[in-house]
Symmetry: C2
Amino acid sequence: MTSAQPYLRVIDDIEASIMSGALTVGDRLESERALAERLGVSRSSVREAIRTLSTLGVVRSSVGSGPQAGAILISDVELGWTSALRLHVAMRSLPVGDIVRTRVMLEAGAYRDVHQPVPRERLAAAHDLIDVMDASQGPQSFHHADLAFHLELVKLSGNTVAAMLLSSLRAAIEGYVAASFDSRDDWGDVAVTLQCEHRELVAALEAGDGERAAGAAARHILGFARGAALL
Amino acid sequence: MTSAQPYLRVIDDIEASIMSGALTVGDRLESERALAERLGVSRSSVREAIRTLSTLGVVRSSVGSGPQAGAILISDVELGWTSALRLHVAMRSLPVGDIVRTRVMLEAGAYRDVHQPVPRERLAAAHDLIDVMDASQGPQSFHHADLAFHLELVKLSGNTVAAMLLSSLRAAIEGYVAASFDSRDDWGDVAVTLQCEHRELVAALEAGDGERAAGAAARHILGFARGAALL
DNA sequence: GGGCGCCTGTGGTCGGACCACACGGTAGTG
DNA sequence: CACTACCGTGTGGTCCGACCACAGGCGCCC
């Protein structure tokens, strides 16, 4: 009574090994041929299973021989989330506005957990990114640094899930944001406003006023999104 | 110069059709054999691509013939998110505590957007679920209704992304929550406390006090999580 | 002892084959 | 004429065997 679909049996087997702790990040899976023989399924089914785990960011496959070859357990959460988000946004089943609003919830929520002044050295990377944005010559480079800036601040909260999620949400709508950035002829003025808000955000965190930072972040993101017609 | 991996070419082709609007939810994909021939790849590669899209919740495959058979475009966001989350939590790369904290951010954020009293009829389902929890005979049925209750309230905010995300986050740690629910011999007392907090939450929303609801939700979730040693 | 080349095992791809299934038209039946 | 039973057809699901490119490790040769 092994009625389940073969490729699901493979996934279940690997998942069970992960759950039991027999497999952890960095370990190598059995070879596709060995897995197929042990589980009594065809190699095609094993491949579909591994391909699935690969798109979920659980496995990385490499050809060749030696310790680095074969299927290796990784843990790249963003990989799966981002591709899933991108596709569903394309199908219009996830409104861009809702993604922006969700991003505000996550980011503001992360800042709201801050109750102690954040030491300056932990904000060094954020300050550097502000400088990078000041020196940026066009929307693309500014946007790129802006992405890293916000991610850096959320990482300070120590919530890995929120950070991953934020990164995926932004990646999914990156195309829309970049498009509206490029289409505005006043991007220089926009950049000045955004930078002012970035500095206010950092100042609030340095002061340990998470609530103020949360409010600033919400205004910052929603204000830009309105201007970009993303809401 | 079609150097890309064959299965990626298939995904790109389908994704392009979605982006351009040529394919929308409910449409049927070409048959695997037709797709393979048109793109000049083997059917195995097409299958890996479709299996990937299937795990991302973009496609549903059925055997047989007729309009309902074949690969049909759907949009089940939770499917991909939930399986990805579950696996990464199992690999210990996503701490359960961070998932709980992220859930608080989403739920509190959704309530915080409420500024008008919520009409009683829109809360009817929530009231019904409170009754269900009152009448529940054990942890499992209570937990099940609790899940639906919180999801129902977040859906009131109209943010589909937040609702999907909440649902996925809870599904990913459902096992841990259920386990700690079962292991407590005082689940009756816990239920009473939780129900009291549920009523306070609904009352705050009925009063249109989103801020109060957000605070109540945060205390409610974090309080239970602490008791269940999930933080 | 050091450098070079073969040998092995890996994932990646392909083609063909068979199966179970569900639909749709068709032939047979009342 | 209406209804039913049947079979043909196209679908995804699975399996098998084959070949390829690649990377590492081994042993041979210099």
